[in-house]
Chain length 449, copies 2
């Protein structure tokens, strides 16, 4: 069963959960002064409208008309009842999912990319520079820039650039200029290559390269695909649509589940439901699923940490494993991030959401079952949500309750087949992290507040 | 603008254009006796229901309930107005497309795969064996077999097997058993490898291997993904849905366009509209687009030819370039077939449809424009339709008429990015076929009827 919305039923406003929080997140701190940063510190990188959104306490922020028009290319996304998965599980639980893989980039990232490209265009910006690891964010921003007639320059971690040529190619089909990072185009890149000509790069280096290029050109800005408040805000179109779709079938989720990398995927589907609960509405359990090999929510430390591994960005208040943490052999690129967004971290700290860490073999098995029954091969990130959905369905059956479960199928896995191949060939393994190593890594998280 | 149908508005019957034709296609002939073949000749390979459909003159054939249930996983597919493409072209033409890339295999092939798997299952068949070249058909059948609990064995042309590992992998995620062809598993394969251990295979060899395996096992059948009447029949769900969707917006196409490889893609979207015209309804121009490097419709010979390059299959009445024709450097695997289905051939011969041959550089340019404006990267096959759509939109503007154009976006190009890369790097070229060579190749087409 698929539940569609018409274009005229699309949300006209984003939902800002900050407005409904008793405890607002702590402010970001300047990396040198360690004082709260202000709009002026950010305007070299971001347009003023996004900076305003970053600190807004308004509950609803209008989606500009041209962004809504661009959303209409692929939104509203369908809400789908996973009847064949339910049957295969023999569960009485009702399982629904929002499918975001139909977007031009194949993931939910397009939702914020279009908004960011639009606000930059409005401010007269000619080029947006960004980094990409697995490639979903770079793809989304490439498409968004093409929509609003802005140049797009992407620094792609060299390891991914070499291993995932399809991801690079799809960015190029959208007209982006893609460089392997570290590159010879920046001081940061050159110094890295001088040290090690075979450097395969990291997200930290790629961020630094993108920021360097953006900061030098007054007609260029930088863009980030997760973690920041404005990014989470834009993703709430997912949950807001889902609410209207549930109304049409007179249903409501007891549980909302999404994977958590930086937090925008989870926030996008869960925050509108959590907000409803905060305002006295129906109760919902919102569960963020992280990989057991990158367990910032369940085993990380709450404190101030850098957003990047090199320590150039502002300090953010978050659950973190330390900004130098590197997860072992994890085949879900979008979930390798060391920290969780300030908003998700605050909600978890206050007991308003739950978190669970899962091993990847269970997740890939769940993803294959989903693919065979529902006909969509999920991105490895989404497999984490599916595995938890299966656990919750079984728990509901065991409790003798018919629970309704919603999850975010954040993207398709068409560019992740190498990971599935490794899984099918028995080359993937689960990882147990050592408590001592986690402590050493988390020592970089500051608690001076 | 997207036009959806509800599940209860899905077509309940396939449309069989044979019923409305003055001139029915000539019968297929036995490859040895050259006499019309009967059901008994086919039952070792196909279930009786499909053999009946192959020769049926009934206008409507019911879609079995379990097939409709399986269609509901991804159907009805949306009818989309390509407003951003229209704007980029500055045309007054109204351009609509059916998007079939949302199916589990990423193409329209799933429509017939599900029906074929179902009828085989009903007859107690345990395994379906098939061949695949580019991989779309093998992917579709793998998924369909998983839905109905049948084993699936796929012989994949070794050239594709080696160059397109993702296509092989996605079949494996659906549970199929995929072999590179030629293989050591069949007599045909062994004899080919004995002659040349480095043989990269061909569709002809792969068909022979699949048929050999299917014929030896009485619980196994063979399946074909295009060309045959029953395959075209199953694809008519595309056009039938489109008709209902146009009703909702009070519009109707003046022109229907699709690429033509074997013919099922074109037939699927065009036949319901052509049938409407044949029954005295509204006029429509139905245009089949073929690549200039494989121009069976525009430069081939109408006569009896084999379906495979090795000459094992029945002789079919069709436009053909000769069954040994090999198109030069064409990056649209689905359009490399030497002949057109009997039904499409008869309609073209009788002037009921049109055909046009396009060069691939124009097609890839059109596909990239579509991707940047509409947000879906098309399969290279679909680019042929898009290029013709652009030509027709310009022609309509030149004639001062506001024409409505419908085309079939038969699949996404997520597994064809290497071809886009070659195009972007200037490595693709157009091909002009030599008239003499075409004559030599077409000498294999028999006209003894």
């Amino acid at each position: 069963m698929k539940i569609y919305l018409n274009k005229d039923e699309m949300p006209t406003h984003y939902y800002n959960i900050t407005a409904d929080l008793m405890n607002k997140p702590l402010p970001p701190l300047h990396p040198q002064t360690r004082q709260p940063i202000g709009p002026d510190d950010l305007k070299v990188l971001f347009p003023m409208e996004l900076i305003k959104q970053e600190v807004s306490a308004e509950p609803y922020i209008e989606i500009p008309e041209p962004v809504r028009e661009a959303y209409a290319i692929y939104r509203p996304s369908p809400l789908i009842r996973a009847e064949r998965l339910e049957k295969a599980l023999g569960t009485k639980a009702k399982i629904f999912y929002k499918y975001e893989g139909g977007s031009p980039s194949g993931s939910h990232k397009t939702n914020t990319a279009l908004a960011q490209a639009y606000y930059n265009k409005q401010e007269g910006i000619k080029k947006i520079v960004t980094e990409t690891g697995a490639g979903q964010w770079g793809t989304a921003l490439s498409f968004a820039c093409a929509q609003f007639g802005i140049e797009c320059e992407v620094f792609m971690v060299r390891g991914s650039y070499d291993q995932k040529p399809y991801r690079k190619l799809i960015m190029e089909t959208f007209g982006a200029n893609v460089h392997a990072s570290p590159s010879e185009l920046t001081e940061v890149g050159k110094s890295q290559l001088a040290k090690d000509p075979a450097n395969i790069g990291s997200l930290g280096i790629a961020i630094s390269e993108a920021v360097e290029v953006a900061a030098q050109d007054e007609k260029a800005h930088y863009a980030l695909g997760s973690v920041l408040n404005h990014v989470l805000l834009h993703q709430t179109v997912i949950g807001l649509e889902a609410q209207k779709q549930f109304e049409k079938v007179d249903a409501y989720p007891d549980i909302v589940i999404a994977p958590l990398g930086g937090g925008s995927n989870f926030a996008g589907i869960a925050f509108p439901f959590v907000g409803e609960m905060l305002r006295g509405g129906r109760k919902v359990r919102a569960i963020a699923v992280e990989p057991a090999s990158c367990p910032k929510l369940t085993r990380g430390k709450f404190g101030y940490d850098f957003g990047d591994s090199a320590g150039y960005t502002p300090l953010l208040p978050m659950y973190s494993l330390g900004h130098e943490f590197m997860p072992p052999g994890l085949h879900a690129g979008g979930l390798r991030y060391h920290g969780a967004s300030a908003l998700c971290s605050q909600l978890l700290k206050d007991g308003l959401i739950e978190a669970v860490a899962l091993q990847q073999l269970e997740c890939f098995s769940a993803g294959l079952l989903f693919s065979k029954t529902e006909g969509i091969l999920p991105a490895p990130e989404a497999n984490h949500a599916i595995a938890q959905v299966i656990r919750e369905a079984k728990a509901a059956d065991a409790a003798g309750e018919e629970r309704t479960i919603l999850f975010n199928l954040c993207g398709h896995g068409h560019f992740d087949l190498a990971a599935y191949d490794d899984f099918l060939q028995g080359k993937l393994e689960d990882h147990v992290l050592d408590e001592e190593q986690l402590k050493i890594s988390a020592a970089g998280v500051l608690d001076q507040f």
